[in-house]
Point group: C2
Chain length 208, copies 2
């Protein structure tokens, strides 16, 4: 094995496109990919567990982490704060472990600024109609919140050019296959290994 | 389906690394990928067929194509000429068809200059020792040719940074899997679609 840093896989896209389910599927398939757990001040949805889906924090707790510079990025989305704790991710990457980050678009933008070598993946709904019916079907948002989210969707899609890859999420297992292929291909990228490949052969040559 | 141009997959690497067998396997698996047939002035090896493996040309025939500017690139490698006929490839790409090009490194370099949006893949042997034994085992080269090829191998490997991806060719079917994943991932690259993705959703929005 030739050494490389871990991949930081940043999965984002409009709310309701299905980034969460795709990430969950990838984690189930790959025991060696670590899911980064974000912190948030929003209320848990049914079945969401503290420390698994999110670290659910009070506004005061969140602010304390901000003050201590403990976030990779953080943002306010629809009246709630979301943040990505920094140190655990950086440590994993340095150890060659791949980390997946499911994140809102504002957050993804900040991550790209500080960590451009991440792999930025944009999850799209098959159509805007389908997106709306998914948000409604989730039944966790008020009508006002649904309208707010939907009206942003097209504006958000226009930001796709900030991303490396896109996945049109029609069927979760198919989308997870595509993400899997992206991960595999990224592991074959020359730039991820600096001079480690040349060094491997140089070493052999010197032993001759 | 959102429209895109075909991928030009340029597979290169040191002689004996096994680019030919990987490409053959990919073509067998994907009936929709077209293998570009190169022209050469070298003599056919056992089992090689004109128009399938290469267009085997005389030096005069080759020179005529050069004069008529019919090559995408051409180069002299170990006393023989190799060239990539241009028009068929460009036509396929424009029609959205993916084309695979197995090519020597000098040629790959020229292709990159005129077509940088190609996908450049470097095939490596598992070790230099293994590379030498493969060239010897092929039994098609004279001892002098073998020495010439082998002494270039390390110098050639140093050029890996001109490529997008690498594949360490230990086992053909595993290498073909990796190439397959690279192809799939490239089809999910945002830059390959220009504004076609945004336009798709814009159209839907306008119909609302």
């Amino acid at each position: 094995m030739i050494k490389r840093k871990g991949l930081l896989l940043v999965v984002s896209g409009p709310s309701g496109a299905g980034k969460g389910t795709i990430c969950k599927e990838i984690i189930t398939r790959n025991k060696d990919i670590k899911l980064s757990v974000s912190a948030t001040t929003r209320k848990p949805r049914d079945g969401e567990i503290h420390g698994v889906n999110y670290f659910f924090l009070s506004k005061e707790e969140f602010q304390k982490m901000v003050d201590n510079n403990e976030f990779f990025e953080y943002a306010k989305i629809y009246d709630n704060y979301y943040g990505t704790p920094k140190s655990a991710i950086m440590e994993s990457l340095e150890n060659g472990q791949d980390v997946i980050l499911e994140i809102e678009m504002q957050g993804a933008k900040q991550v790209k600024e500080v960590y451009p070598e991440g792999v930025f993946i944009f999850v799209l709904p098959p159509s805007l109609k389908e997106l709306k019916s998914r948000i409604v079907g989730r039944g966790t948002e008020t009508l006002e919140e649904i309208d707010k989210r939907f009206s942003c969707a097209f504006e958000e899609i226009k930001k796709i050019s900030d991303y490396n890859y896109f996945i049109i999420n029609k069927e979760v297992s198919k989308s997870a296959d595509e993400l899997q292929e992206i991960i595999s291909a990224e592991k074959n990228k020359v730039t991820r290994y600096k001079d480690n490949i040349i060094d491997k052969f140089k070493e052999e040559l010197e032993k001759c």
